[in-house]
Assembly symmetry: D2
Homo-oligomer: 289 residues x 4
């Protein structure tokens, strides 16, 4: 990594504020713009008043996740004034790295036009893996808050065995739950067994629901339709961790009186400092190689 | 256990409501009094309008934890009308068992006077052990709610190694925290090591505080005085799980800007159904032998 | 699965003997050939004297792992007389399934010629995953046997993070070891951290070796060359779990006085009954879907 | 601890040899006698040829566990010549500490007579706790060696819930076994549940035996009599970890064809270096306070 890397952190929520502080703690020169309100930026970060001022001379420009909500300005909830994306593009140095989350094609086009490099940290596999940690903890927290029983000693079912489910099954088991995990692939069922949970084929999911205190979905497809929902015990909590379109027919859940919670974007909500650290680590990996 | 055991559940909060339902589910005849509001008593429990009606003919009369707040009436937050303790004493059958939490000497005196047996389930070791499970989970929940970081990967310190600390250290470790536990006795330090946490002598506690994201006290004596509190990192969360008088100088904590939370009576708050099940199990043990 | 599935189990070691017994316990009709010596076949398995007799009428013919050592006869260490492969091919019924481990192309050719179906259970992902369980336990057993220290409290390093390493790191951590795992990919390093071990980049492996009581290699490439071997503490145990060509320069290890053990084919050696059950499960998956 | 503590290590097996080396590594002046054969004493330990030479001037004299087998000489299996206890007593300095394992009353009498202090490290609770770690691992090792199945996925029963059982249940669970633990006290059954195993009352032990791959006894009283032994599955392994008189009718086990192993004194056998470290830690605690 170049010794002299200077970072510009532009906009974002608490995650980006923490990220700026962590980079400064690592010894980098960090300038931040778009943090007028609330956010606690430590004194080690140089707070500047415009994106232009922050970006100029920076080796790496860090945009938030997602980098924009409107296509024209940086997603900067802590900024009083809008921060135009154009101010970033036009001030980014030649060969500087502009990185953000969920970058659209237009950013790569701007990179070609202005001569900077663009990269999406949200596409990095290590970030997705590490984000499963706060997501899983967030789902545990919601279950603790909502259930009248402890996780310990309760039967819980997880639908799917992707990254989030892997971490979440681990957390639930570790806390003493009796965890059933449903997956389609034989190799996933083998892993579920290897990791000490009880595997069940997807076809047998409805039959496994009675007796469960909580059920967690991680599959972004309609797993919990009305018929399946009707198999849940009264009082069973259903938490959907799947990204859009989700896996629960929420309307049917309402009709049936099923307590269903669609928990999206947990990392930034339940652990903004950890989320900031994950983005920081990922960006340093990107710079490193 | 006598086949014909009939239970009277008199007063209490959600825990006792769940307890009544669980006993009914076990096949016992259960009558409940003191639940006019809120509480969800299942249909399998016979709801009666007075303690007298519930108590008459019952082999076992279950009072809440604590059984009274004023010395004259049953602790019955869900009851519109006060439930006089005297109604229980005078209607309890000869040799019936009256059990409750934190019974005072006067209850044993009444037992002698009226010919029933009195026993305090809160004095049973198995209840205290099992209550450590919801207490520990409650402490995890608070830490998850209050901290901007995940439990996973955070350094946490536990003061004391009694029942609650044993469970809580286990939960924190299981979730991936780096757990230091301070104890006085060499044998406790040996157990801490055996269970996979890092042991530290009490004398070295202040030196272990820097770097901790959260600190938990379980010792009911002033461990966290002003000098010790001043060693905590800014932003470190301090949760006191010790019963009165607690182990934290809360006034000094306020002065120093330390976020300190005194979390008492967690089982009934965070997991009333599990707490009811624990009381139920304990009472059945008492009857059994 | 067809109700009437009849199995023929031909040759193999203890694993196949257990497998035959497990299939019989599942209620299938099982005939076994090639088990004259040692092997304990339960009475529920019909022992026949020739492959021809076993194979005729069977829906599924199970060959060992590997199915042959010489290309002409079934790998049948418990059989006094050689069992010609040709006896299997010529007697296998039309559309019957012939399955074995490490089938060569010639088996598929025979399948086309004689009209049976051929499938290699050793190529199934779930078998490879499940085999990681006995392999990891076998590696723990060897470490326990060879080391003068407990796993608990010892520092151990794992090179690689494939299936075997995942299970083995889990076992070592669970027993209380301080586990460092070296991997190349950032996403693997993220998983190592998520699963509670300490990740280290491959480049820093040599520097992590001092202080380790045991080191385990799972990478089938020369990781432990003379220079790297020279970094091991005196008395450090090196166990190579990688398939050929292995990852340790054994000659250099000998010169340097490093205790190095190349532990191959552990499942059949340390847990033949579990290995038989894994093959059984895999074959039933193959028939099922 | 006094800076100038000099240690004399007299006799013993590998544990004491390692202990001497560890004390030297801690920076203490260590003289050792009674190690002529086999034992690897590092160069940092001063090897002397007589107890007299080692003991003179030492602040702390360390005898083995047990300190003697015949009442007249030090238990010194690595010494060619006998090492008379009298040589220790008469040369121990005033106020020096003589410590050993299982000291008889006569040692305390000699202490009074000659003016040294005597203390038995084997009576220290922390040593007993820490010794449960190698004992539990040793029991795991034996089970791995003897069973044709993996610990993972096997049902195992533990009788008793003392120190060894606590550690051993933890190890078995951690490796993925389905662990049932039988205890008498309700509070122990509560702990078993809290720690994630399945509790069973002692009275129901015989009924829990079928289906177990291995059974471990830790109760030093006849738990496994002929009738109970007859409930074990064929092939079930029975390991008795209880000190004399043990808990298994070995004669009946032989008659019934039950594989029973009485595993005594595991720490010194399976992990002599860890055992030496445990004795070292305990002695330092004794000196410290």
């Amino acid at each position: 990594m170049p010794d002299k890397t200077a970072f510009a952190v532009i906009g974002g929520d608490l995650r980006q504020a923490y990220l700026a502080g962590l980079l400064a703690k690592d010894g980098f020169d960090v300038r931040a713009a778009g943090f007028d309100r609330d956010a606690e930026l430590p004194d080690t970060v140089t707070k500047v008043s415009s994106a232009r001022e922050a970006v100029g001379g920076a080796s790496c420009i860090v945009l938030p996740l997602p980098y924009t909500l409107d296509g024209a300005t940086v997603n900067a909830p802590f900024s009083r004034a809008p921060v135009p994306l154009e101010d970033v593009w036009t001030n980014a140095g030649k060969n500087s790295l502009v990185t953000g989350g969920r970058l659209s094609q237009s950013v790569y086009d701007k990179a070609d036009e202005y001569g900077f490099r663009a990269a999406d940290y949200y596409k990095r596999e290590e970030l997705t893996v590490l984000n499963a940690i706060p997501t899983a903890e967030g789902a545990v927290q919601i279950a603790m808050e909502e259930l009248p029983v402890t996780i310990h000693g309760s039967r819980m079912l997880e639908a799917g065995f992707g990254r989030i489910a892997k971490m979440h099954c681990r957390d639930l088991s570790a806390l003493g739950a009796d965890v059933i995990c449903c997956a389609r692939k034989y190799s996933d069922l083998a892993w579920i067994k290897a990791y000490g949970c009880r595997p069940a084929a997807f076809a047998s999911l409805p039959g496994e629901l009675p007796g469960c205190a909580a059920v967690f979905n991680t599959v972004p497809a309609l797993v919990f339709d009305e018929k399946t929902l009707s198999r849940l015990d009264r009082g069973c909590l259903l938490i959907d961790l799947a990204s859009k379109p989700g896996g629960v027919d929420l309307e049917a859940a309402g009709r049936l009186g099923v307590r269903a919670i669609w928990a999206l974007s947990l990392p930034g909500k339940v652990a903004p400092m950890t989320s900031g650290a994950i983005i920081r680590d990922t960006i340093l990996n990107m710079i490193d190689g």
